[in-house]
Amino acid sequence: MASLKDLRNRIASVKATQKITKAMQMVAAAKLRRAQEAAEAARPYSERMGAVLANITQAIGGGGDAPALMTGTGRDDVHLLIVCTAERGLCGGFNSQIARLARDHIRRLLADGKQVKIICVGKKGYDILRRDYASMILERVDLREVKTLGFVNADAIARKVIHLFNEGGFDICTLFYSQFKSVISQIPTAQQIIPAGAAGSTAPEATNGGNAVYEYEPEPGEILSDLIPRNIAVQIFRALLENAAGEMGAKMSAMDNATRNAGDMINKLSITYNRQRQAQITKELIEIISGAEAL
């Protein structure tokens, strides 16, 4: 049985932990709000981009001059996986969920005899995937130093991916990230970005201008070849933002749980502590009384 002093120390340390988790929860809540705002601010751009893309593909009508980024290489032998996770842990199952989805996908691809390459964005996914697939990881993008996610970060990744594609490094590119549904639910998602198939893009049907006859300056094909790389960057950017919001949401609920657990633990420990203190007092009283009786 632990002594009273041990119990006291234990309670103090759990209390300190509770304070930390509580603080982390509050920090996550504040960051979540900011991340959500950022994700919302970025939405108009990706929506409009989708609409413009839909318009222009309609104009070209899937003609032969569509760039390879859109139509693909015609093969599906080499797959590139971009796995976006958080830089930090302590956010429940957030990172492992994304990594698990990616791992299942990799296993399936390998079983089909495909070649797999991986780019890890974020430290945690890298740590998990490194165990099994270290040889397939091409690169690890570190965003730890980045204070606020900018389009520049996404653009840098997109540029690397497109460069690799142009060199014939892969045929199909899939993006893994976590979709932010709500604070308590983030859905790990796989999205194909190259070739930009109809299934992968969130492009809504051509809006208001659907039946307008556009004049293109320069040629539609040229605009499209400019637009598609940008669209890839936008998709990656959106994934990163959703991830950031999801991470904070997951962290918030994980820390909330931790705070509550610490509270339960303190209650239990205090009961044990009080009981033991009472037992000791009783014991001392008995000693005094029986001592007095013996006289």
Partner: protein, 135 residues
């Protein structure tokens, strides 16, 4: 007074402008163009330059954009900019950095096509810098 139309300036980070305007000057890839209400539908890429907006209230605002495109319809105009900042907030160091990068790109270009592209971009940037300096 000229008819007003809806103009939106969007960068990946946020929606910068969304209001009724009288006219917008866009640095199109094939020359500057002024968009007013009831413009024929045009889709154009834009080069680095200054977008000048004349709002329905008669105010004039200027934004610096680095590439992107414009989707122009009779009912409105949407400008998707790769990055956009208000002229007052422009960061000269950032511009200088972009120019430096463009220079490196031009120097590293492997074939003629990409070199001419990089050089074109560089000249657009330097023109932009020149246009901003007296401002």
């Amino acid at each position: 007074m000229a008819e007003a139309f809806k103009f939106e300036l969007v960068s990946p980070e946020k929606l910068l402008v969304s209001e009724q305007v009288e006219s917008v000057v866009i640095p199109g890839a094939e020359g500057e163009m002024t968009v007013m209400a009831q413009h024929a539908p045009v889709m154009t890429t834009i080069k680095p330059g200054v977008v000048t907006i004349k709002t329905a209230g008669g105010k004039e605002e200027r934004f610096v954009v680095f590439g992107g495109f414009a989707d122009i319809l009779p009912s409105g105009c949407t400008l998707l900019a790769e990055s956009a900042t208000h002229v007052n907030d422009i960061d000269r160091a950032d511009l200088a950095r972009r120019i430096q990068e463009a220079k490196e790109d031009a120097a590293d270009a492997k074939d003629d096509e990409s070199r001419s592209k990089a050089e074109q971009f560089l000249s657009q940037l330097t023109t932009l810098e020149g246009a901003l300096l007296p401002a």
